[in-house]
Symmetry: C2
Subunit: 206 residues, 2 copies
């Protein structure tokens, strides 16, 4: 029985480790498609064009919006971020899961357009742990750190629009937990109703 | 973070092995509460009163209905089956998961009264495998076997009212799959919204 493929959105505050979580998940599930966002933000050290992001100018970004090439886009910390539409549609049409690691505004927009998408909000074990992780990252000055913690509180208000929450304490546990949620959603009857109606599975729905 | 407890309904055609599945799950999770049904059916060999079922007369059963002591009840194969209400309510109030292994009619009734309940439909890998399992059980004559297969087709029409389907091929895999669905549902934001609103979790929703 071929299980349905999913459009997954992973969000959460900066520093919660959603990037690492998604990378580890992709290592375990290379058959899934991970969307690469467009951004006007400057690359951080070690970030690679076309792997972490497509780094573009604000003009280039605006052209993509005008041409309706973005599935969603949002402004975060003054920078623009967007999801190229076509690769996601192609991945879903070919039967692959598509994973979008995007901010909460983008997540809500995806849910509006794709009600069947699965929105997962990654939480830190505690506020203190989030602060510790942001500090450890070392790419942020004290002012930016404080701002990100304030923004995290605002982002948390979007939790209610999300389907699931996931606590990222130990990485390997969190990856397995993500797998559990994905497994479960693939076994949701409503996603398979058409399949069962058409006579799939052990019996056909008359 | 205390996760929410669930009211779980496990259903599926006779012979699919849902009894064995639930027993194995309970061995792994003795903290859960497994409901014991009332029935007017005659005990099978090895079935124990108060462990497998409360075996009662039709008169006793009707009295329980009249006194509104049943959470749900239904007629299956000419026999009456019902779920005693109070033990389930007590288990849920004390924070335990409550598991009801009941027929599809009962499952739909539970969902109507408790929309937050989680309904899981256990499927055989194939029709042939279901026939094989029913034959192997050896407690059924050829006529009963044929009737159960026909009934399975009717029961399958209730699949669309269920939240999840689960294929019972290898027992230990199926038990783990059941655990995955339960884990996932415990991480559904809507079940925790009140908790988050009241300031639970790493941040409070204002």
């Amino acid at each position: 029985m071929k299980l349905p493929n999913l459009l997954l959105v992973i969000s959460g505050p900066s520093g919660v480790g959603k990037g690492t979580l998604v990378s580890r998940y992709m290592e375990r599930h290379p058959e899934s498609y991970l969307s690469i966002s467009l951004t006007t933000r400057k690359p951080r050290p070690n970030e690679v064009f076309g792997k972490d992001y497509f780094f573009v100018t604000p003009e280039e970004f605006r052209k993509e919006i005008e041409n309706d090439n973005l599935l969603e886009w949002a402004q975060v910390f003054g920078d623009l971020y967007g999801t190229p539409r076509q690769p996601v549609i192609d991945a879903l049409r070919s039967g692959r899961d598509a994973i979008l690691e995007i901010d909460v505004q983008g997540g809500v927009r995806v849910k509006t357009c794709f009600p069947e998408s699965v929105l997962i909000f990654v939480l830190p074990p505690s506020q203190e742990e989030l602060r510790r992780r942001l500090t450890k990252r070392g790419t942020e000055d004290q002012e930016t750190l404080q701002r990100r913690l304030e923004v995290a509180k605002v982002e948390f208000q979007y939790l209610k629009y999300y389907d699931f929450f996931l606590i990222n304490d130990l990485l390997e546990v969190a990856v397995s937990d993500l797998e559990r949620i994905i497994f479960s959603e693939k076994h949701r009857v409503s996603r398979m109703e058409q399949f069962f109606k058409e006579g799939g599975g052990p019996f056909a729905i008359p």
